[in-house]
Amino acid sequence: MQIFKPHVINKEESVISITGLYKSFDDLDVLKGIDFNLYKAENVAVLGKSGSGKSVLIKIIVGLLKPDRGEVVVLGKHVNQLNRKELDDLRLHIGFSFQNSALYDSMNVLQNLTFPLTMNRKNLTKSEANDAAEEILDSVGLKDKLNQMPSDLSGGQRKRIGIARTLILKPQIMLYDEPTSGLDPVTSTEIIELINEVQQKYNTSSIIITHDLTCAKNTSNRIAMLLDGRFLKIGKFDEVFDTDDEQVKGFFNYNFIQ
């Protein structure tokens, strides 16, 4: 297994900076004051129960959802003050891996990969796009699946194709929404390796949403516990779980004792 190598993080250079973030839906308060920095080349795992607003948080970061209050600065840009064109330019630097992969099911694997590329780089020829797609597919180890339809792939393969589809635009930031959920332990391990490979190869900064502590421990420099709409604890894995807080301990016990 490609073990996670803790590397030195420069705390000067933050790529995502969130202050005082609030978000509610109708009567439901989901995020209640999030403050958070993601530094260059850093991987942070966000842990939290399902329904705690983890997906909402990263959707706000890419501008899919609008916050009620608070500032979100990504790569020096205020996400909520951008017009469509500026937002699109910013999004090209952010890779978003969806919880259920969200592959385009009317296209085969190759087309899934070339679609974002040809749509955004108009002067690219078809064969250049295909070459780029094949290269990325090779790096996620699925070169032989080129002509398959997404519906014919397994969950783990879909996840990898989903990650490949975002890598093809060479993002600086990766946002993974539950990359290992619903996968067996072996496939999970493969995805964890892939996340680390991506970090090392492309020098990305990542937020990894998960409730799988193995994944959190093996991919991340820091862990952030999302509880009740706030980050209860942010820090190294051992720091976060060295606590008497029942809710944090509950999380730990669930993962490792059950």
């Binding site: 509610s24 109708d26 009567d27 308060d29 209640k32 959707k59 890419v62 899919l64 469509r84 699109d88 330019d89 999004r91 090209l92 952010i94 978003f96 969806f98 919880q99 259920n100 969200a102 592959l103 385009y104 099911d105 009317s106 679609f115 974002p116 749509m119 955004n120 108009k122 589809r165 975002t166 635009l169």
Partner: protein
């Protein structure tokens, strides 16, 4: 800090939802016209969608048009015979098919076949986050999915309606031909005798409106689908029901306006 929110409605929950729903629909239509003239035009996707629309409904339209032609002729003959006016049969059929039946039959079939499939397709893309995936990879899903489909239905359905009218007239001709000898050419000539340019123009305008309606309703319902897989079925179903409802209303309005123009 307790953050209790008191919900207030302007009228009542139902009325408020009705008006905000309408507002949302108008904004959707306005956005369509705004995006329509902006680059990129995704011409290839428009052509793809035109083929989709055409191929999906061609067989059914051919069959239905043909049968409508035959049945309508068969049913009309006895009434005309009573007055000894069977020679008027082709003209009567021409008027009925070109002005009313062809466009309407086509629109209803396309609302069922094309509208529902657009609703289901976009609905499933919405609930499986494929639309969000486009958005985050800097592709405008409204332009790529909605504008292309609405343009395709608006172009293709008038063509299909014209085709449907000709097939129906052919069906009618076969029936006429079986009873009395008449050539196809002379049949079409007498069918078109009482049809003028205005009639054809109105029929074309009508079908353009139907095509737009079917496309935009299907896209609106699909694009705004919620509630997971259940929402997909709901979107497809509502797309058909609403499109058919609007088509009948538009039919009445357009015929009324056409009559004003005619007697102006």
């Amino acid at each position: 800090m307790m953050n209790k929110k008191v919900r207030k409605y302007v009228f009542s929950k139902v009325l408020d939802e009705y008006f905000s729903g309408n507002h949302k629909a108008y904004r959707f239509i306005a956005l369509f016209f705004k995006e329509l003239f902006k680059r990129p035009f995704h011409l290839r996707e428009v052509i793809n969608q035109c083929f989709e629309v055409g191929l999906k409904s061609l067989a059914l339209i051919s069959l239905t048009g043909f049968i409508v032609g035959i049945v309508f002729t068969k049913q009309s003959r006895p009434s005309l015979e009573e007055f000894g006016a069977t020679s008027w049969l082709p003209s009567l059929i021409g008027i009925a098919i070109i002005k009313a039946l062809g466009p309407l039959v086509t629109a209803l079939i396309c609302a069922g076949k094309v509208g529902s499939s657009i609703g289901a397709e976009l609905g499933s893309m919405r609930v499986t986050e494929q639309i969000d995936a486009m958005e985050v990879s800097a592709i405008n899903p409204f332009k790529y999915l909605v504008v292309t489909r609405v343009v395709a239905t608006t172009i293709t359905i008038p063509v299909l309606a014209l085709y449907c009218s000709f097939v129906a007239l052919y069906g009618s001709y076969l029936n006429v031909h079986a009873e009395e000898t008449s050539s196809l050419i002379s049949f079409y000539q007498s069918a078109f005798k009482t049809i003028n340019f205005l009639d054809i123009a109105i029929s074309v305008v009508k079908t353009i409106v139907y095509g737009f309606t079917i496309g935009i309703v299907g896209c609106y319902k699909g694009f705004n689908a919620t509630q997971g897989t259940r929402g997909v079925g709901k979107a497809a179903n509502q797309a058909v029901v609403l499109a058919m409802f609007l088509i009948f209303i538009e039919e009445v309005i357009i015929v009324q306006i056409a009559n004003w123009i005619r007697y102006f």
